[in-house]
Every structure is written in structure tokens, then in C-alpha cells.
Symmetry: C2
Subunit: 105 residues, 2 copies
């Protein structure tokens, strides 16, 4: 089974999404590219840490970057990422609602 390796890669993509700050980065990139400085302001997070998060996502192919002078702009590598995130959020919300239903009784 060479599938094993594919599952590992797939898991590492999910791992790269499994952090609140990185998900917020993705949200901020929905409507187009942003520089690291712009992202740092929006996220209220240290520069080094943001850079680490961006590196993780770039290495997994979730975002891409381009340099323009001093600034480096990041963008989503594919709109599929937005769709996938939205679907996961829907599953989450349905799960929360189900929990509330149960608690109501």
C-alpha cells in the first residue's frame, strides 16, 4: 500500500490547518494577498511567530508568497482551501448545535 504515504501527506496538510492563528491568516487572505506586516497587525501576534506560521503553510502548499521590495506578500494557493475550511466550519457548527439540543432536554 503506497496509500500510507498519501495519508501521511494529507495528515500533514490538516496539521498545517490545525492552529487558530493559521486559520485566521487564511481568513484574512480570502479577499486577496496581504503583506506579513499587514497580517501581523490584523492578528495581534509576534512577527517571528507569524513568520513561522507562514512558513508552515507555504511548505505545505497552502499559501504562496512573492516579494515586492522590502515586503513579502502572501496569498492562498487555491480557492479550494476556502471551500474546505468553510465545510469544516459547517460540520463544527452542526456539532455545536447538536450539543445544545442535547443540553436543552
Amino acid at each position: 500500500m503506497a496509500d500510507r504515504q498519501l495519508y501521511e501527506l494529507h495528515a500533514s496538510i490538516c496539521q498545517a490547518l490545525a492552529n487558530p492563528k493559521r486559520l485566521e491568516v487564511i481568513d484574512r487572505l480570502r479577499d486577496g494577498e496581504k503583506s506579513v506586516t499587514e497580517l501581523a497587525e490584523a492578528l495581534q501576534i509576534g512577527q517571528a511567530n507569524l513568520s513561522q506560521h507562514l512558513t508552515v503553510m507555504r511548505q505545505k502548499g497552502i499559501v504562496r508568497s512573492r516579494r515586492e521590495g522590502l515586503n513579502i506578500y502572501y496569498r492562498l494557493s487555491s480557492p479550494k482551501i476556502i471551500t474546505a475550511c468553510d465545510l469544516m466550519r459547517q460540520v463544527l457548527l452542526e456539532h455545536l448545535e447538536a450539543g445544545i439540543e442535547l443540553a436543552r432536554r
Copy 2:
């Protein structure tokens, strides 16, 4: 910002997907529910460990279970999970292909 909490929850859903065995479980459940024993055979994994993986996914609302006699059957809680996984796999494959392109030069 109450968003922070949502991002945390969303990240914990992604975390629950960020493991090769759990992704394989999801794949096995695509075409309907399976008992723990059936899954253990398919995945070639220890019983305790599989049970732990299933617990993680159940707690996050990714799978649901029902008991029938001695057996417990697990199923996906929503077809959205399949779509989300498929999209992530597409992003992964595109990233791999891009890497191969680069290496070819």
C-alpha cells in the same frame, strides 16, 4: 472578538483530521458504517489505539456511533467531511505536481 474561540474550535476539528490513521478511517467510512472490528482489520492497527482515534473523531463531531449488541458501528456525521477531505487532497496533489515541475528544470 469572540471569533478567537471559533478559530480554536475550528483548529481542533482540523487537529482531529491531522492523523493518517484517522484519515484512513474516514476513507473506510465513505460507503457506510463499519464496526470497530472491521475497521481494525482494515487499518492493521491495535484495538486500543483505534478506539482512541475513534473517540477523538466522535468528540469533534466527525463521526457518530451506535451500538448493536456487542458491536459498535461508526459512520461519518456528514458527507461534507468527504468533500472537505477531497478538496484538501486536491490541494496536496497540486502542490506535489508543482514540486515535480520545479525539480524537472
